[in-house]
């Protein structure tokens, strides 16, 4: 009865859907669900941001999402439904870039699972963020190297 929903959303054709996320992780045996929504901010490192483009290595990202789900399930150790979706393409300020949801019997595990999943997505999924600034400039964000021995 556990399960995962892992998705890269081409935002030219669809939007991320927090409703779908919370519905997916609901279960008669679950008392709690924790969700995280990441949105595009209007300011980063002191610069006015007007939008963000996400580049994604889609097949590898889906493989990595599946590994993250396995890792979270193993660490949580009980029943879990996990939802991971990330936007691919250009977003405006306020748009949703990532949705994580975790449903579990008790809230402690739901928070832990949700937090572990978003940290793993941010630090280890093949996704790149390019910020577009009000002055017309753009820049790829500094990020986390995947060369480390801790990444398979």
């Amino acid at each position: 009865m556990s399960g995962d929903f892992l998705h890269v959303a081409d935002i030219a054709h669809e939007r991320l859907d927090p409703d779908a996320a919370q519905a997916f992780v609901a279960d008669p045996g679950f008392g709690g669900a924790a969700l995280f929504l990441g949105r595009v901010r209007d300011l980063n490192h002191g610069r006015d941001v007007v939008g963000v483009s996400y580049d994604i290595h889609r097949p590898l990202a889906l493989v990595r999402f599946a590994q993250i789900a396995e890792e979270v399930e193993r660490d949580v150790g009980g029943r879990l439904k996990l939802y991971i979706a990330h936007a691919h393409g250009r977003l405006a300020v306020g748009d949703i870039a990532v949705v994580i949801a975790a449903g579990t019997p008790h809230r402690e595990e739901a928070f832990r699972a949700c937090r572990q999943a978003i940290e793993a997505v941010k630090h280890s999924a093949p996704i790149w963020k390019q910020e577009h600034y009000a002055d017309g400039d753009s820049a790829w964000s500094e990020g986390c190297s995947l060369c480390g021995d801790d990444h398979p």
Binding site: D55, V98, K122, P126, W128
Partner: protein, 85 residues
């Protein structure tokens, strides 16, 4: 061997169609890394120093360390430091 290397993130735009065709002397991922470094030194003067050392290399299903063999189909991707979420 011939490698078709797909470029992501900050490396996008550095080759037509975001794909770089490299002739690699050797069959290991480390040899691909060296070939890319040579290409970058010759053609990408604006590249941030040290960036390639922080890049990983991957097939469509897994990241491969430098000691791993290059895949038979010759299709690889170079992954700069990631910044999702």
């Amino acid at each position: 061997m011939k490698i078709e290397l797909e470029l992501f993130g900050t490396l996008r735009g550095l080759a037509p169609g975001d794909r770089l065709h490299l002739e690699v002397a050797g069959g290991r991922v480390g040899d691909l890394r060296a070939a890319l470094a040579a290409h970058a030194a010759a053609h990408w003067p604006g590249l941030a120093p040290g960036l390639l050392d922080k890049c990983a290399f991957a097939t469509h299903s897994e990241i491969l360390r430098d000691a791993a063999a290059l895949p038979e189909d010759g299709r690889m991707a170079v992954l700069p430091p990631v910044s999702g979420g």
